[in-house]
């Protein structure tokens, strides 16, 4: 690795801790972000010659605070007196520097930073780009590309999100245990959405980067909360799914179904880590939605060939997930397992009652079509596949259904 690449990686990894600590200190996102930016520039100037500091986050926090305070002093000379609260903050910051934060401080700082990004005043389309920008430091143009909007539009979206946050009351006090658990839950849900943005998007590498970022954030969360089984489950789930990345698309970028994937192309390292994490999580015997989903992914990962998949166990796990988190989408997924264990008829019975709630959901019509075809009800299957194509979100999805239709034509 070159100097610059190493420093860049170190800055990216220090960023959540540093921006989190600066936000607690300055209580303003823009100030925290700009101060981090300036400290990063100084790191690029100083680290190649002097070597990286032993504690990179502490170095960055100290430099960023000095820089921001200098900036404020300069402004203060030109502007009217700052408010009382501001003055006391300045006093604080001038007190002995090199503040060494222990793990618990970092934990609450990083959690707060992430929690602010999934503030209830924000919509998910605002939350995820804001987190990518502020917590992960992903460049604006990359975020814009991943969400298929112009850079100007994305900048506006993030600016609006920040304005909303500034207008809302922000939680700067140290959270209690219950609040901490609630925040962790909200943040996990956002990281889960981020992963899905990347995972469900087809072969587009810009979007795939979102899944990689979600993995990085889940790792960060687990390091902050090493004993949380649901966070172990979250990271395990991401790793086990992302392990299939290379096998999920063919040379034209079309989706390859799980059953047809070349399992040798799955990433063995990610699978080993995912399995180790889910093993560790299960020992706690406090199942949760992420652990169950990871356990399902683990059963797929453990099957060397599709025929070896433990479908009865997958059916049981989906049933447990249905109880914890009832949703028609979970039932739909369970129906896939049921079709393997009890046949297409039983699965279709499970799927039909979902028709109204999943009328606009592409996979519903795709699965229904496949089940009808298996039962020899070709005409109805064709109608279902037609509805699926109309709802397909990507070209790959539509192509996939078209192949089913072609096969139906070939058979009849």
């Amino acid at each position: 690795m070159t100097d610059l690449a190493w420093i860049d990686a170190a800055l990216v990894s220090a960023r959540p801790k540093v921006v989190g600590a600066l936000l607690r200190h300055f209580r303003d996102l823009d100030t925290a972000q700009e101060a981090f930016q300036e400290a990063s520039l100084r790191a690029l100037r100083h680290w190649p010659a002097n070597g990286p500091p032993r504690d990179a986050p502490a170095w960055l926090i100290m430099v960023a605070r000095n820089v921001a305070i200098d900036g404020k002093r300069r402004q203060a000379r030109e502007a009217p007196l700052p408010e009382e609260e501001h003055l006391s903050d300045l006093g604080d910051a001038e007190a002995p520097l090199a503040e060494r934060l222990d793990a618990a401080d970092y934990r609450d700082d990083v959690l707060r930073l992430l929690f602010i990004c999934c503030h209830p005043a924000l919509t998910p389309p605002q939350q995820i780009p804001l987190a990518l920008r502020i917590v992960s430091g992903v460049p604006l143009r990359e975020i814009a590309r991943a969400f298929l909007v112009s850079e100007a539009a994305m900048e506006q979206r993030i600016t609006r999100a920040k304005a909303r946050i500034a207008a809302a009351a922000l939680p700067f006090e140290t959270p209690g245990a219950l609040e901490r658990a609630e925040r962790l839950q909200a943040v996990s849900a956002m990281v889960y959405l981020l992963f899905n943005e990347g995972y469900s998007a087809g072969a587009d590498p810009d979007r795939a980067a979102l899944a990689a970022e979600a993995i990085r954030l889940a790792r960060l969360l687990l390091r902050l909360f090493p004993a949380e089984p649901e966070i172990m489950g979250l990271l395990a789930l991401f790793l086990l799914q992302q392990a299939r990345w290379e096998a999920r698309f063919d040379a034209e970028g079309a989706t390859v179904l799980l059953e047809a994937q070349e399992r040798g192309r799955w990433n063995g390292g990610m699978i080993a880590e995912g399995l180790a994490l889910i093993d560790k999580a299960m020992r706690h015997r406090t199942p949760g939605p992420y652990q169950i989903q990871a356990a399902i992914a683990a059963l797929h990962a453990r099957a060397a060939r599709p025929e070896e998949t433990d479908w009865p166990q997958i059916d049981l796990l989906y049933a447990a997930l249905e109880r914890l988190q009832p949703s028609p989408v979970v039932t739909l997924n369970r129906a896939v397992a049921v079709s393997k264990t009890r046949g297409a008829g039983a699965a279709l019975e499970m799927v039909e009652p979902l028709a109204e709630r999943l009328a606009g959901y592409f996979p519903f019509h795709g699965l229904r079509g496949a089940l009808l075809r298996e039962l020899g009800r070709a005409t109805e299957a064709r109608v279902a596949f037609g509805q699926a194509i109309a709802l397909a979100g990507t070209v790959a999805e539509a192509d996939h259904i078209r192949r089913h239709l072609d096969e139906l034509r070939g058979n009849s």
Partner: protein
């Protein structure tokens, strides 16, 4: 004399390498390992999964299982075992046996391996 060479680095950085960076780093290290192996000097080589996959067994009358890596600084790394286990439960069972056979305080950190090359026979 046999020497263990323990690798310390930032896992944030190492575990966010791209496939190409990973392959390049492993190729450079592999060349050194190859040379050592030809000289008959290389024993087992292992790479550990990240600390997030670690579990720690604190020795004591009733050993305490803690999620996460061993983080104290009062104790130093004194040695290691590589043991085949079916799962974490069996690994913990093994660590408990070792703890029962040990008269000191301290801890065992259990880390799954990402890679293991047994290496050739090395004179002791």
């Amino acid at each position: 004399m046999l020497y263990a060479i323990l690798c310390y680095d930032s896992e944030d950085v190492v575990w966010s390498w791209t496939k190409e960076e990973e392959a390049a780093a492993m190729a450079r290290l592999g060349a050194v390992q190859e040379k050592l192996a030809q000289q008959g000097r290389l024993g087992p080589v292992a790479r550990l999964l990240p600390t997030t996959s670690a579990t720690t067994l604190r020795k004591g009358a009733v050993p305490l299982v803690i999620d996460g890596p061993f983080a104290e600084t009062k104790e130093q790394l004194l040695g290691f075992y590589i043991v085949e286990c079916t799962d974490l439960d069996q690994a913990l069972e093994t660590a408990r046996e070792l703890a029962a056979a040990s008269s000191t305080a301290g801890a065992f950190e259990i880390r799954p391996l990402a890679l293991f090359r047994p290496g050739g026979a090395v004179a002791g």
